[in-house]
Amino acid sequence: MPLRRLNRREYNNTVRDLLGNTTKPADAFPLDQQEGFIFRRADLVSLLDADVLRTAAESAAAAADVATLAPCSGGATGEEMCARTFITSFGLKAYRRPLLPDELTRLVGVYQAARTTVTLDYAGAIRMVIESMLQSPAFVYRRELGPVAPTMEGNVARLGPYELASRLSYFLWGSMPDKALFDAAAAGKLASDADVEAQARRMVADPKARDTVASFFGEWLNLDQVAERPKDTMLYPEFTDELKAAMMTETRDFVSSVVFDGDGRLETVLTAPYSFINPSLAKLYGMTSTGATPQKTNLDPTQRSGLLTQAGFLTVTGATNGSNPVKRGRKVLERLLCGTLPPPPPNVPPPKAASAGGTTRERFAEHSQNACALGCHTLMDPIGFGFENYDGIGRYRTTDNGKPVDAASQLTLDGTSQSFKNAVELTKLLSNSNDAHSCFVKQWTRFALSRAETDADQASINAATSFFTKGNGSVRELLVGVALSRTFRYRSLAVGEMP
């Protein structure tokens, strides 16, 4: 894994678990740089990043509970001893590995400078130490360079126990390891498959994994960007902040419920005829309201079938003023089936506006004929036509621009062309396809490693896929399978790296 900085979510979770700080300071950070990658990640620290990291560190240190973190009853002479003890124990957690002797010495130096040059008292000096540690590369970056050189096995390095503990916790929790994981690392209990599997299962069962799974789905299909999608408010006056928030909550509630409270299966995520809706969503879905807070509600199974027929997906892939077969088809092709598209040619005229008459499908069909008939639209649009029963914010419809909707189409899955009548059938086809399942494993591997896969990862992806299959297609099993995969537990030595 190339050097990665804690992204916004990871930073928030880490200061929560390290300091009990629940203020989510990283919500104020600049947006994570994705550089064309699907999932949120961050690496280079620009000036602005350094500035906000400092501000966050200063506030977190100021709010830290020193009496609990670094209790000291030794009087003036014992205080430096207390500080030393604190630095050692807190350092292990903050840096996710034991401190190097030189780090301890220099952090004690920070404490001394705080007492003398900056004239702070004991608590103030402890805060200044915390402030320094929270800006250290050892805290900021997810690369736990411990005192021990990596163990080479052939041309790859096996992660050390603390490195693996950290990789597990940031993958499954988006946060630092807990005490049990640190203890396992210290006791050499993260070496065997059985050890890793036991930790992974424990961690998947922890409530912190729910947020990770919800975040994965949000990033994977951009479902967390509902609020950033502009819509024509003349056409969709109900698309208010409240409804946008309800859509994002629906996604999170639904996927965590299926994955953690239900059978856990991807197939269920893609086809469940129920969801979690509040009154404004109920209205959008044509249901009667069931209560002020989101309730598990059975939806019309002829209209709704899983995540792709829920309002969030249909909104982020919809146009500002209607459906958008290209965007919807593209999202399914690229994100669910891991298909790739050639770059668009220049000077593509857009599809005609609704005012030109005809259904969306008719206008887009004409567009794909004109623009790049065989290159790309034949890959995207036929899939997207399956969602023609939903308008730009996911409301079900049977007519479009005054004419009946035609959502029947076909796509190639697992090497054969398959037909479907509408999105309900399309999602059933997807949920049973090997293509969708192996792509899903690939996406989780990307998420776990925070990088695109290479040829060298294929064996690990295959291994995780069979774990997933053996586990009856359960997402929980898949997470364990990814954690057990070789690529997750090893890393290549970077060019120029001294082992």
């Binding site: 190339p2 220099r106 200044m128 593509v348």
Partner: protein, 437 residues
């Protein structure tokens, strides 16, 4: 009122700085890039995406006139200069072919470099804003030597400003943080400021040492990230030093602004206004002399529309529609230029010597492509407002054909008092002397 002499003291009084803070400020000497009369020169770049409607943006003849797009700037025609026919040649020449890489050219606009990669997102050298502000910083310590500002959304492309190859400057989009950056020093008593400095200095020393050791254990590529991080820390260190500058300018209109309460949800027009207002104050008060603005980003501005203009379709879709939706496109462009006009008018309402702060500045607007349907990186639309202390001869159109935009970047350096004969990638040497005669 005598506006002949610029006094940083007067400015800081205008900002409400306590008198006790003033001893931190050094001798009142004219430093940095200044006009003959001793006023500071300033450079502002404003970049956005999706091109312009060429038939409307460019005047029909060689006389500079404004159409719908530039209507908000109509009053400033005598102070405007339009160089036509500049290409982002460095991108056009890139391999593989990047001629239509309009959404990926922000990193080339101010660096005059291009990554040799389709849809490359990396600036391959120092951008002109960084280069000029570094030169200014050699003689004058400003509160913010460089301000990189922007309006961004998740998934947008990379910025126009690059400290060095591969080292982007992330744009500040938070008006409250910007406000604190500009005005924080005006509220703390000096004793406390001194302790904060000492504290931060100790912490930064520790981080720099840590980064050094950490970097040594990484591979080559990761090590460059750590070097970038170290450069950022060194910049923070420089900012700990008290401002020393005293360039020139009157301080008229240098009043600490009132901005909406922290956390207020700002819609796009409100956010644009507060960001441009803060930029205007920062320039008038000589807190900074170089600003970049990345508005609607590389990447197409997907996910933006303009309901307050009655344009509810997606910005990117409107741009692609070309002539079919040209009226909407021009409405959008004119609105963005009205944001620029807000900054320009505030500068022009600030007397400096015999002219105004605008006369001592140059505001350069630019786009990452030619037109919406084309996405072509040649014939990039540039517009200069302000003569930068008389360096530019304004009120004109100057026609070029297939001239690399690197020459404009080199010319901006010269206008700002930093003499160069070229800027950016090798092979694109030269300046645009025609803009001055």
């Amino acid at each position: 009122m005598n506006h002949q002499r610029f006094s940083r003291r007067a400015l800081l009084h205008g900002l409400g700085a306590s008198a006790a803070m003033l001893p931190l400020l050094h001798a009142e000497r004219a430093l940095g890039a200044t006009t003959a009369a001793g006023f500071p020169k300033r450079l502002v770049t404003v970049a956005w995406t999706n091109g312009i409607v060429a038939e409307d943006f460019y005047p029909p003849s060689t006389t500079l006139t404004v159409g719908t797009t530039l209507q908000p700037l109509a009053a400033f025609v005598p102070k405007m200069l339009m160089p036509m026919g500049l290409d982002m040649k460095v991108v056009l020449d890139a391999k593989p072919d990047r001629a239509y890489d309009g959404h990926f050219s922000f990193p080339s606009l101010l660096t005059g470099t291009a990554e040799q990669k389709a849809e490359g997102r990396t600036g391959m050298g120092t951008s002109v804003d960084v280069f000029i502000s570094n030169e200014i910083a050699k003689t004058v310590q400003l509160q913010a030597p460089l301000l990189n500002l922007g309006v961004r959304s998740q998934g947008d492309g990379n910025p126009t400003s690059w400290r060095a190859s591969g080292q982007m400057n992330v744009a500040e989009t938070d008006p409250w943080r910007l406000f604190d950056r500009l005005f924080a020093g005006t509220t703390l008593p000096p004793g406390q400021i001194d302790l904060v400095r000492k504290r931060r200095q100790s912490v930064l020393d520790y981080i720099l040492q840590d980064l050094t050791g950490y970097g040594q254990r990484l591979g080559t590529e990761d090590r460059t990230k750590i070097e970038a991080h170290m450069n950022s820390i060194r910049e923070l260190e420089k900012q700990l030093q008290p401002p020393t500058g005293d360039g020139g300018g009157s301080g008229v209109g240098c009043v600490k602004p009132t901005i909406p309460a922290k956390g207020t949800k700002l819609d796009t027009p409100a956010l644009m206004k507060v960001m441009f207002d803060l930029a205007a104050v920062a320039l008038k008060c000589d807190l900074t002399r170089v600003i970049t603005f990345d508005l609607y980003d590389d990447g197409g501005g997907d996910g933006n529309n303009f309901p307050w203009l009655g344009v509810t379709a997606d910005y990117h879709a409107v741009a692609h529609a070309g002539s079919a939706q040209a009226a909407d496109k021009m409405k959008i462009d004119a609105w963005i230029f009205s944001q620029v006009a807000n900054l320009v008018s505030q500068l022009d309402a600030t007397p400096e010597g015999t002219g105004t702060a605008l006369d001592n500045s140059v505001v350069v607007t630019m786009n990452d492509m030619d037109t919406g349907p084309g996405h072509y990186v040649g014939k990039t639309p540039f517009l200069l407002i302000g003569s930068c202390g008389g360096y530019f001869k304004t009120g004109r159109v100057v026609k070029y054909s297939k001239i690399p935009h690197n020459r404009l970047l080199a010319t901006l350096c010269n206008a700002m008092g930093v003499p160069v004969t070229s800027f950016g990638a090798p092979g694109y040497e030269g300046t645009l002397p025609e803009l001055s005669v």
